[in-house]
Amino acid sequence: MLIFDHSRPGRTATAQLPAAGGSLDDLPANLRRRDAPALPEVSELDVVRHYTRLSQKNFSIDTQFYPLGSCTMKYNPRACNSLAMLPQFLARHPASPDETGQGFLTSMFELQEMLKDVTGMAGVSMAPMAGAHGEFAGVAMIRAYHDARGDTARREMIVPDAAHGTNPASAVMCGYTVKEIPTDASGSIDLAALRAAVGPQTAGLMLTNPSTLGVFEKTIADIQKIVHDAGGLLYYDGANLNAILGKVRPGDMGFDVIHMNLHKTFSTPHGGGGPGAGPVGVAERLLPFMPIPLVLNENGFYRLATEADLPQSIGRMSANMGNAGVLMRAYVYARLLGREGMHRVAEYATLNANYLMARLREAGFDLAFPERRASHEFIVTLKKLKDTTGVSAMDFAKRLLDYGFHAPTTYFPMLVPECLLIEPTETESRETLDGFVEAMITIKREAETSPDLVKGAPYSLPVRRLDDVRAARELDLAYKPTA
């Protein structure tokens, strides 16, 4: 039932309406609305009941194990939510003077400093509002750097074939053309291909490390040298930062610019798809180009930097200061973890991934890169199972839902056939991982003995498998009552 099905003309949630009356008689008649917008007309109980019940139709970290590779679905501490939502924080207008927000700005400044430390970068701006937004900012800074030097022939961005789709898309948004380079059999970048690709046209290389294949680029020192020697800059896609937090820093690997996904590594909520936060960190030479605002500390007085402070800035990314409330949650998380906690993140995320990989291998699952360590995630390929039983990675994933586990990422990275990209995160217990292995084994057995059972999954959810093709072909994007 849609909220519109509860609607009745004239019904209202009266307590939510202002008591006073207001006149609009001073407005020109032709600019006033002729027909009231057909929003739902419902009671407060209708709303509370409808959306409470809707929420129950979701899987979430708070209710299920969620080993979605590359998404870092770890526990979102509840304190981060309640402390970021203290009434005074919520009540502050973003254009209020800095004097009225020293509590907020102090927190923001300290977060900036911590992010610099954990990434090994010289500066951080928290303006970008998502990972892809951070990518855009990062690439725009690379371009601003080259342009400022008059090095305007560099119009090509190198991207490995295993990269997130956002990498090439962001590069294009900055006016670059994309050159894709291949991955070798061990899951590493093909150094020869990279050497062949670089040149005076190279603006930079965008790299995820550990890569989306779940393995660390062991030749990162060589990669760095090849790109820098060619005059390009090195971009770090922070999607997998959780895998190395406190173990190795992008700045120390020689990256010039990095974005972080705070909704991954700093455990801010995914919220059904956002809001996230995508701060960017930069090496010394990119400092002048950082997006504004960022927070400055002037002898203990904190203020937002403006165009006057960074005249070469790539500019502004949002009307205000990014997703401030998300940043506040990340700040609380960082304070709760502290130094030791930061060091532990990668350690236990990696322990969990390698344990799960070992157990699945033992249970007869094929690994995409059996000779490699898992980082915080790893890839199982179901190609053989598909060939023998017809059960695909998608079928397998849907069946996992019936067992109360969210599915791993499927069909990404695209270069591994029938793949499941599995990321358990550090906040899950051994018992939970064992339960997941049990379910994987059971489904494998089902696939071998009753493949149709698996192909028809899921059975226990609010809906059975949905027709995506129809969704795209017969577009129904807004409810229209059949009169």
């Binding site: 209710t63 207008h93 009225t100 937004h133 900055c174 502290g338 906690g341 809906v463």
Partner: protein, 463 residues
């Protein structure tokens, strides 16, 4: 170990299963020289109790203020139910609904949101939201250029929020798109349409504009269409309860005219001001442009049993499939804020939203009259305005605002820097949260400050 459940026994059993001697061994593919030592600028971890006390102290330091600042972000009442439900774990800690069957809650909610936004804007389709209003405008500019076959020029009035214009510039400048600034009439505050604009892909039409002034959106829409360009509405969703829907703009709206794209800042729909976010940008458009629209879109379909259900759709536009050919690099929406906004729109309904708009407007009118009655305060523009108004002062705006602040009043936004031609000018906004006493309080202090009368210095605390 905060948030890590492993016991020592777990660790040794797990290492045993892996066949590793230590956790450190699991990092043996990282060149040793690169490994991090102790972090320097991250302090020791604190228990939740200590962090809670710290944050409560910081919140208390920031305090509460009687704010009359608007400028794109509005202090509206947010029903208590909304965030109690929005922060339920099932919404709060869910991922992007890639596994549709396990995400029907989020997906149905977005479908309802999309429906509500199309009804507010009078357009055919909506996406699942974008980052914020400014970035939504930037995406609309890109979308207009993609849709227009020939021109890469877009006209942006100077009456569009100055920071929005900067965000648009940041976003599009590397793609060879030219932004043309349109002047405004210094008396009325209206955008002036140029006599000879040349070829352009789109015209941005703010309603109300940054000054709170109501633009002649019908004429502007028709003009853009006459020139073969798209009309891009930039609107405040609250005001759409009482101002004409973008889909109905122009004289030919009943023949498929009206604005082609509508974008704006969703914050007024239930998002706390929170020093700047998270908010969300909305974007609606005519059906013809749906495949050019960036961002996530949810569609209704059926399951294997023919039962209706919801799923992400039109993903072929998106970066994870099209990569460098994608419509945009955007791969999230502002899901949680949209969760709140959907409930907000349902709770307020058409009546409630109209009342919020009209009470806010009436408050602004009342305050503007009180303030304009004070010697040294005049209205900057003659035109009808909505919900927000520019006032000129005969004294330095920054100093006046600081004096008001000492009384706990944030009296508006100083826009003298952005619009030096206006002199000492402030943009003042009233919403339904302000009582008549609040307006009087403001006016009394403004009168005192401008007349240079001194008050006995109170405590260092605001009262």
């Amino acid at each position: 170990m905060p948030f890590i459940p492993h016991t020592e026994e777990d660790v040794s059993a797990m290492l045993g299963a892996i066949g590793a001697a230590s956790i450190e061994e699991l990092f043996d593919e990282i060149p040793p020289a690169l490994k991090t030592g102790k972090l320097k600028d991250v302090p020791d971890g604190l228990p939740e109790m200590a962090v809670a006390r710290l944050m409560q102290e910081r919140a208390s330091a920031d305090g509460f203020w009687s704010s009359f600042i608007g400028a794109g972000v509005y202090e509206h009442h947010i029903p208590a139910a909304i965030w109690q439900i929005t922060t339920r774990g099932e919404f709060y800690s869910a991922y992007t609904p890639y596994q549709a069957e396990a995400s029907q809650g989020t997906l149905q909610l977005i479908y309802e949101y999309q429906t509500m936004m199309t009804r507010l804007t009078g357009l055919d389709v909506s996406n699942a939201s974008l980052y914020d209003g400014a970035s939504a405008l930037a995406e609309a500019v890109l979308m207009a250029v993609r849709s227009h076959k020939t021109s890469r020029r877009v006209l942006v009035p100077k009456t569009v929020h100055p920071i929005y214009r900067r965000v648009v510039d940041t976003t599009v400048k590397n793609q060879g798109i030219e932004l043309v600034e349109l002047a405004y009439d210094p008396t009325t505050g209206h955008t002036v349409l140029p006599a000879d604009p040349g070829s352009f892909a789109g015209l941005v039409i703010p309603q109300p504009n940054f000054f709170g002034v109501l633009e002649d959106v019908h004429a502007m829409t028709d003009w853009a269409h006459d020139k073969g360009a798209l009309a891009i509405a930039l609107v405040n969703p609250t005001t759409l309860a009482v101002l004409e829907a973008p889909g109905q703009w122009g004289s030919r709206s009943n023949q498929g005219g009206g604005a082609d794209i509508a974008v704006g800042e969703g914050q007024p729909l239930g998002a706390p001001m929170a020093s700047g976010g998270p908010y969300f940008g909305f974007m609606c458009c005519r059906q013809a442009f749906v495949r050019q629209m960036p961002g996530r879109i949810v569609g209704r379909t059926v399951d294997l049993d023919g039962k209706p259900g919801f799923t992400l759709t039109l993903q072929a536009r998106e970066q994870h499939i099209r990569r460098s050919k994608a419509t945009s690099n955007i791969c999230t929406n502002q899901g949680l804020v949209v969760t709140a906004a959907t409930q907000y729109m349902a709770l307020l309904g058409p009546q409630g939203l109209a009342k919020v708009a009209s009470v806010s407007h009436a408050g602004t009118v009342a305050l503007a009259e009180k303030l304009a009655a004070i010697p040294g305060v005049t209205r900057a523009f003659t035109s009808p305005y909505f919900h927000e108004v520019v006032l000129k002062l005969n004294d330095n705006a920054r100093d006046v605002l600081r004096a008001l602040r000492a009384q706990g009043i944030l009296g508006g936004l100083d826009i003298s820097g952005w619009y030096p031609e206006l002199g000492h000018a402030i943009l003042v906004c009233v919403t339904e949260t302000k009582t008549a006493a609040d307006l009087d309080h403001y006016a009394q202090h403004m009168e005192r400050i401008l007349s240079k009368r001194r008050e006995a210095p109170p405590c260092a605390y605001k009262n």
